[in-house]
Symmetry: C2
Subunit: 218 residues, 2 copies
DNA sequence: ATAGCATATGACTACCCAGTCACATCGGAG
DNA sequence: CTCCGATGTGACTGGGTAGTCATATGCTAT
């Protein structure tokens, strides 16, 4: 979505623009992020930024797409477990997700911004489609699980999908960050979070999901 | 938190001010809610509103407190089940919560606004304390459950509390609203949600929580 | 009737924002 | 050396915001 001009820029300048814009859109929700602040931090004229991107929306959506690409790349770095059941697959997947947050908190934060509400109608559409995609993915996984027999059939997916989504998105994130005594991935204290934290949290979450809160072992 | 002047107002005028302010703060997050819009919708001068409330913060925090009172009142209307175990207690509690959302979506929305982030430091403190209170409450419930033997002891509450919070806050809400094909409690289509929906969703959530996703019956 | 207090007003200050555009500068091709 | 397209600029437009305050009006008690 950037204009051609943006890609003609010297790599270091382009990189700096990305970094500053990323920081702005990571720290504030779309409606409160400010192009004026970005250009003033960069020390360039506002008109220049408008040569690189058609507007605030384009800059944001490009950052979100870029964040998605980086996340996909990071998650694909480790190969998924083959032949494993639903719970093992989800364990692997969400562990990768948490590690991405720990490794690239600003990119992860921007990716999360894409499911936040906004007053801008176009951004709202982006939000709706991101949210729908996430739930559709989870639904597919759980449907596969039902076929495998690893997911009980007495609860409709219409109900289960959003519930599990709450557990594995907001819940998992909160549990992960709580390990560092923090509620925001951008908090400097969150840097102390590592692989062990991610695995501990994901193990607990999936054990809870699979077996429930009453009994550990079946 | 309102000034004395506010309570001296004729009841109908006061009521109308509450309604319009409620609508504004229900529809938009704190930072984007606008005092200017409130007064213009009310058709009164901005100075007048500042005679009733010291500022935007005071108006918002008062609405949040008021929402809390109304929610408590609504929840207390039905007596809690006595002698029931953790899951039955939570089932009752969260069903009441969903019914409050269905009955008073704007008040419920404002209550939820209190756990949204804001750039205003004072509002951020309110957010932190609301969030902490919610988790502390859940922690107490789960600790009681562990004593009763209805909650497995192999998972630390530090991990379980935020996970369950994700399931029973965001997850439950999403599942409830999804029944009306909606993602926002203020959406007019959400008015079709009733007691049966609340009970169905809460039953699914608590069954999932208690027994897990793999098997229904123990 | 008048004094004095409570209430109502809206123009005003001092900020912030996205986006535009006429103009300036640069750098390479001819 | 000159031209021209690409790049850079920042003042400007038109909009929004929270909060203030001198002034005006209503209302009540003497």
């Amino acid at each position: 979505m950037p204009r051609a001009t943006f890609f003609n820029l010297p790599a270091d300048k382009r990189q700096r623009i990305i970094e500053v814009a990323l920081e702005e859109f990571a720290e504030r929700p779309y409606d409160q992020a400010s192009i004026s602040r970005v250009v003033s931090r960069l020390g360039i004229a506002k008109g220049s930024l408008y040569q690189y991107f058609d507007g605030k929306r384009e800059l944001f959506t490009w950052l979100v797409e870029e964040a998605g690409r980086k996340k996909l790349e990071a998650v694909s770095a480790t190969p998924p477990p083959t032949g494993a059941d639903l719970y093992a697959r989800l364990r692997w997947l969400y562990a990768q997700g948490l590690l991405f947050i720990a490794a690239s908190p600003r990119w992860a934060r921007v990716a999360l911004r894409s499911v936040e509400p906004s007053l801008d109608p176009e951004i709202s559409r982006l939000r709706a489609s991101s949210e729908a995609a996430a739930q559709a993915f989870l639904r597919e996984q759980l449907a596969r699980g039902q076929e495998e027999g690893s997911v009980r059939g007495d609860l409709s997916l219409e109900l289960v999908v959003p519930l599990v989504h709450g557990l594995l998105s907001e819940g998992l994130m909160r549990a992960f960050l709580a390990r560092a005594g923090v509620t925001d991935p951008l908090d400097p204290a969150a840097q102390s979070l590592g692989r062990e934290d991610a695995l501990a949290v994901v193990d607990a979450a999936l054990s809870l999901l699979e077996r429930g809160l009453r009994r550990g072992a079946p």
